[in-house]
Every structure is written in structure tokens, then in C-alpha cells.
């Protein structure tokens, strides 16, 4: 399963980016292989439709969960329809590696 995490930078020590649409990087974590991919967000400075642009990017990677601090209002409806799980974590101090650790922990429970 692939899980996207919004990141402020391109290293595992970067912290969770609280913005979904305009985050700096997306980390796509593959829970099967353990691989992480850092994708610079092309919508970072988009004037509009950053949310939908980012969503399209992630759906093209077959992501089934997204961890971020905030989502544009009502984007949940769209995500529900696409069967993507949204995980809202208001902890900007969490690093990507800490979040991946949590996810691994959850998977092995």
C-alpha cells in the first residue's frame, strides 16, 4: 500500500508540512517494499487549484492514504469518493521518519 506524507523538505528528517496542496514535497511511502520517494510538489506556488493538482499527482501514484496537517475544506468529499483515507495530524514538529515509524508500527499491530 502506498501512503503519501506532506513534507517540508526532501530528507527523512524533514518535518510534516501542514499544508496539503502547497506542501514542499510529497513523500510516497510503500509499506510493502519500505521504499520512500520524495517528489517535489509542482503545485507549491500554484496560484490556484493546488489542492486538485496535488491530488492528481498522488492518485497517479496510486496512493491510498494521505497524512497532512490540513486539507482544503470539503476536499474530504472528493477523497471519500476516490476511496483515499485522509489522516489529519496537527503536529508540525513530527519528522517524516517518525511518521513512517508510526505507520510501520500500526501495520505490525
Amino acid at each position: 500500500m502506498k501512503i503519501a506524507i506532506t513534507s517540508t523538505g526532501n530528507s527523512p528528517e524533514s518535518t510534516l508540512d501542514q499544508r496539503f496542496g502547497r506542501c514542499s514535497y510529497f513523500v510516497v511511502y510503500d509499506t510493502e517494499s519500505g521504499a520512500t520517494e520524495f517528489i517535489p510538489n509542482p503545485n507549491k506556488n500554484a496560484e490556484d487549484s493546488a489542492g486538485s493538482g496535488s491530488l492528481q499527482l498522488l492518485t497517479s501514484r496510486k496512493v491510498s492514504k494521505i497524512v497532512s496537517g490540513e486539507f482544503g475544506s470539503k476536499i474530504k468529499d472528493t477523497l471519500d469518493r476516490m476511496k483515499i483515507q485522509l489522516i489529519v495530524l496537527r503536529k508540525p514538529e513530527k519528522t517524516i521518519s517518525q511518521i513512517i515509524e508510526l505507520l510501520d508500527h500500526a501495520k505490525n499491530k
Binding site: G51, V67, G72, I75, T78, V88, K91, L102
Partner: protein, 208 residues
């Protein structure tokens, strides 16, 4: 007045007042009650067969007459074709009218419908999450695996701070929001997600 009659009263109030009734759409899965019972001197509530509403009929009524979406948007919301929606909507109106006129109970039964999954909260890592797969039950947190999870009644309002939300076009069908472009009417904006014409957020006609 028992709880059910109260609810019925509330529903009627909503039906009557809905054009001016503003409330953010509450995202919850099933209808709040299992049904409605009539009351009054000549009715035992046991009057004949109850009228059975399907969930999808309930949903159609809610979208049209409570959320005030037009048929086009409501059909998109439910993921059915426009003619199908019209049929479902006509059916629910007919059933409710029959229940009112004949003094029958209404039960909300089931049927095929996609439910919005609501929000869950994890007490351990404090995250909020939805359940789009509609698995029978949410038993653990998808982030930390804790079993200390429960439904979250309140929408995570603070999870919804949208940067620069003062001027935003919103899609009446799917809720997608994009920044408003000065000088360009929102009605000319096409939703990037579902290709519906967008509206200015907070303006009449956009009650979502």
C-alpha cells in the same frame, strides 16, 4: 412529545424553512434516526404498514431539500445519473406524502448508497481520519495502530484552514476550492476535479 416526534417536527421545520436555513453540511453516515412515528388522537402509530425509505431516498431528499443542491449537483454527489436521481427523488417525495396523508410510520431501511464516512479521532497520536473504505468498523488508528479510537462528532474545523480563504471559488458539486481570480467571474471557473461550474464561496446559491 417523544424523541421521534421531536425529530419529525425538526425535519418538517427544516423542510419548510430550508431556503433560508444555513448550516454547514454535517458529514455523517446514516440518517440520525431509524424512522418516524405519527402521533395524534386517532393514530396509534400502528396504522397499517410503515412506509419504508431507502437510505438513498433519504440521501436524495437531504441533498435536494435540506442542502438545497439542484438535481444535477445532487446526482453527482451521490454518484448516480441524473435520471436515476430524479427517479429516487420522486419516489421519496411520494413516500413521505403518503406517510403524512395516511398517518403511517416511516422507517429508514437501507438500499445501495455510498455513505460519507464521517471522522474518527485517535486519542493516542491525536490524529483525525476518515474511513473511505467503509470497513465494517474502525478498530485502530491508521497512523499509530492504537485501539483508542472513536468517532469525532465535531468536524475538524481547524484542520480546514484554507490559506487565503477570503476570496475563494467553490465547486457546488464536489466542494473543491480554488483561489478566486480577480476580474474573472466564478461562474467561468470550471472545477478541476469534476468540471462543474464554480461559485463564489459564501454567496447565495452556494449553501454547502
Amino acid at each position: 412529545m417523544n424523541y421521534c416526534s421531536l425529530s419529525l417536527q425538526r425535519t418538517i421545520d427544516h423542510l419548510l424553512m430550508s431556503p433560508n436555513f444555513k448550516r454547514p453540511r454535517k458529514i455523517l453516515s446514516p440518517p440520525p434516526v431509524k424512522g418516524f412515528k405519527p402521533y395524534g388522537p386517532d393514530l396509534g402509530g400502528e396504522n397499517g404498514e410503515p412506509v419504508m425509505l431507502l437510505f438513498e431516498e433519504y440521501e436524495a431528499l437531504r441533498l435536494c431539500d435540506y442542502d438545497m443542491l439542484n438535481h444535477h449537483h445532487a446526482s453527482q454527489e451521490m454518484g448516480v445519473s441524473r435520471p436515476t436521481f430524479t427517479r429516487i427523488y420522486a419516489s421519496v417525495r411520494q413516500k413521505i406524502a403518503r406517510a403524512f396523508v395516511e398517518g403511517r410510520q416511516i422507517t429508514v431501511e437501507g438500499g445501495k448508497v455510498y455513505f460519507d464516512s464521517g471522522w474518527y479521532h485517535c486519542a493516542s497520536c491525536t490524529c483525525l481520519f476518515n474511513n473511505p473504505e467503509m470497513e465494517p468498523e474502525v478498530t485502530s488508528c491508521p497512523l499509530c495502530g492504537s485501539k483508542d479510537v472513536g468517532t469525532s462528532d465535531a468536524l475538524p474545523e481547524n484542520a480546514y484552514i484554507y490559506p487565503g480563504s477570503e476570496d475563494v471559488c467553490v465547486c457546488p458539486a464536489c466542494g473543491m476550492e480554488i483561489k478566486h481570480q480577480p476580474g474573472r467571474p466564478c461562474g467561468q471557473q470550471i472545477c478541476p476535479s469534476c468540471n462543474t461550474r464554480m461559485k463564489r464561496k459564501g454567496k447565495p446559491g452556494c449553501r454547502k
